[in-house]
């Protein structure tokens, strides 16, 4: 399997999808950081927050890289060649997964270089998180990227047509990107409304709480929380919050990685490669 992984890495470093995705990630994050700095007069940027925020960009570009890279496996008949020389289907799947995960992480690093470079250039010393908290946030984001890469591998290995695979991964990512803030909005509705009765002197006389009918509770809340934690964009958004829920997010990512990889390997094993 080592030779398969080595071959994949060699192909990855020659792939135009890989280099274009890495360059696009760096350029997009750099433009976005510079734009937001110029509009905020560069004064109040907390660089740890900025670095964690931009982990969402590589999720899109990695999708294009993964679909393009794996689509080429089919279109160039590389998969068939690998099978002919005696490699098993699970070996091929896991070697491709390794290449996509490593590629996704390199693309992520290329994106994160942009805010770090701007921070160093601007001589920024504004940080709002402790080192441990920041490291935990980075781990959450890296796990989210890995889980997303596992999902891209599943799609790329199951869908043979490169163009369909690219469209599908991008639709999925855009859907997840649009869904995450909507779920968050629902979860953020307070469970209780604070009612204040005002006295004649204009001072609060009585303050009491009553259940908010708009709030999501019970099973629906648990379901929405799970979906939000499973979505890579949900994990990236929560990475900046110092909470216990944030620390559990890598477990959700690990769950996604396990389920998608197992499902992908099983489907790919039974797949008719024609």
């Amino acid at each position: 399997m080592t030779d398969l992984i080595n071959a994949n890495f060699m192909r990855m470093f020659k792939s135009k999808y890989f280099w274009l995705s890495a360059a696009a990630t760096f350029a997009a994050v750099l433009c976005s950081v510079c734009m937001s700095l110029s509009f905020n007069q560069g004064s109040t940027a907390n660089w740890d927050q900025v670095i964690l925020h931009y982990f969402y960009v590589p999720l899109f570009t990695s999708a294009v890289f993964a679909a393009g890279f794996l689509g080429t496996e089919y279109s160039d008949n590389t998969i068939r060649n690998k099978l002919i020389v005696g490699k098993t289907r699970p070996q091929i799947y896991f070697a491709d997964l390794a290449a996509i995960v490593v590629g996704g992480l390199i693309i992520t690093v290329s994106g994160e270089l942009a805010p770090i470079a701007v921070a160093v250039y601007a001589g920024a010393d504004c940080f709002s998180m402790s080192a441990g908290c920041f490291a935990a946030g980075v781990i959450v984001c890296v796990c989210a990227v890995i889980s997303a890469c596992a999902l891209f591998t599943l799609i790329g290995m199951v869908v043979a047509k490169k163009s369909i695979s690219i469209a599908l991964t991008l639709i999925l990512m855009i859907g997840a990107y649009a869904a995450a803030p909507k779920i968050r909005e629902k979860l953020d509705v307070p469970q209780f409304d604070t009612i204040t009765m005002w006295g004649e002197d204009g001072q609060p006389e009585k303050v009491y709480e009553e259940a908010n009918p708009e709030a999501v509770t019970g099973f629906t809340r648990t379901l929405l929380e799970t979906v939000y934690n499973v979505l890579p964009f949900g994990a990236v958004e929560q990475a900046r919050e110092d909470t216990l829920a944030r620390d559990l997010l890598p477990l959700y990512s690990l769950g996604v990685l396990t389920v998608t990889t197992a499902a992908g390997a099983v489907i790919f094993r039974r797949r008719d490669l024609k």
Partner: protein
């Protein structure tokens, strides 16, 4: 009937139903704002139409259809315009499916337009012209890039990028000119008070003109304005920008396609 076209029609219907249910669950009164709801889904339709265009035009190259059309004697200009018309029809079919499902869902629940008819007509014109501009740009990309997968990547990434730029520009242009503060009234209600003090974040002068122009010429710009369910100030001029973009990209596309080496 192309498979990608049917999938995109199905996506439009699913999107319209999802938008209806998510709005209705949040606020049952939203059925009284059908007009705003119809025109606010432009960006979703644009995204779906981009997928259709990229897959449809990509197949023209990969299946050799383009070469066959030229072999039997059609001119390149005729092929380009025929494809543009097909893409326009497909895109408007997606929009029509979305509008039909939205309108039927709304009318069943007893909704009404919720805005003056002339305002709705203007919004609809902005919506249609924005779709036409997007079709022209997507056709330009699809006819000039031979590799289907590259067409899909370029079209979708461009769509996503321009949508993000447009949202940022609209957010910046919406910053109020004067500062606002919140005051608590005697009854405990929060009241917005607009002061005479100028907002330092307000974007004015040449910068405002440039931002407005850039947003108006982006194919998604007018659709992003309509996401709020209403037109911006001087929104009546938006169709002119969209039609100009459509004209320029069609002429450019036809000229470049005429000289393109089709191998």
């Amino acid at each position: 009937m192309s498979k990608s076209f049917l999938v995109c029609i199905a996506l439009s219907i699913v999107d319209a139903l999802a938008r209806f249910f998510s709005s209705y669950i949040n606020d049952e009164e939203c059925v009284k704002r059908l007009g705003g709801m119809l025109v606010s889904g432009g960006t979703n339709v644009m995204f779906i139409a981009s997928i259709f265009t990229a897959l449809y035009l990509g197949t023209e190259y990969s299946n050799g259809t383009l070469r066959n059309k030229l072999v039997i004697g059609h001119t390149r200009t005729a092929v380009y315009f025929a494809n543009l018309i097909t893409v326009l029809s497909g895109t408007f079919a997606c929009a029509a499916a979305e509008w039909l499902v939205t309108a039927v869902s709304w009318l069943i629940t007893g909704g009404n337009l919720g805005m003056p008819a002339d305002e709705f007509a203007t919004c609809a014109a902005v919506y249609i012209c924005a779709l036409a501009a997007l079709c022209a740009v997507n056709t330009l990309i699809g006819m000039l890039i031979a590799a289907k997968s590259s067409t899909v990547v370029v079209t979708l990434v461009l769509m996503l990028g321009t949508m993000m730029i447009s949202s940022t520009l609209i957010q910046l242009l919406s910053i109020p000119k004067n500062t606002e503060s919140y005051e608590l009234t005697d009854t405990g209600m929060v009241q917005v008070v607009v002061s005479d003090k100028e907002n330092p974040m307000y974007i004015g002068g040449t910068k405002r003109l440039v931002f407005t122009f850039v947003n108006n010429v982006l194919p998604c710009g007018p659709a992003c304005w309509l996401e709020g369910g209403k037109l911006p100030e001087n929104g009546e001029a938006l169709p002119l920008f969209s039609l100009s973009v459509a004209a320029v990209s069609t002429v450019a596309g036809a000229v470049v396609f005429r000289r393109k080496d089709l191998k």
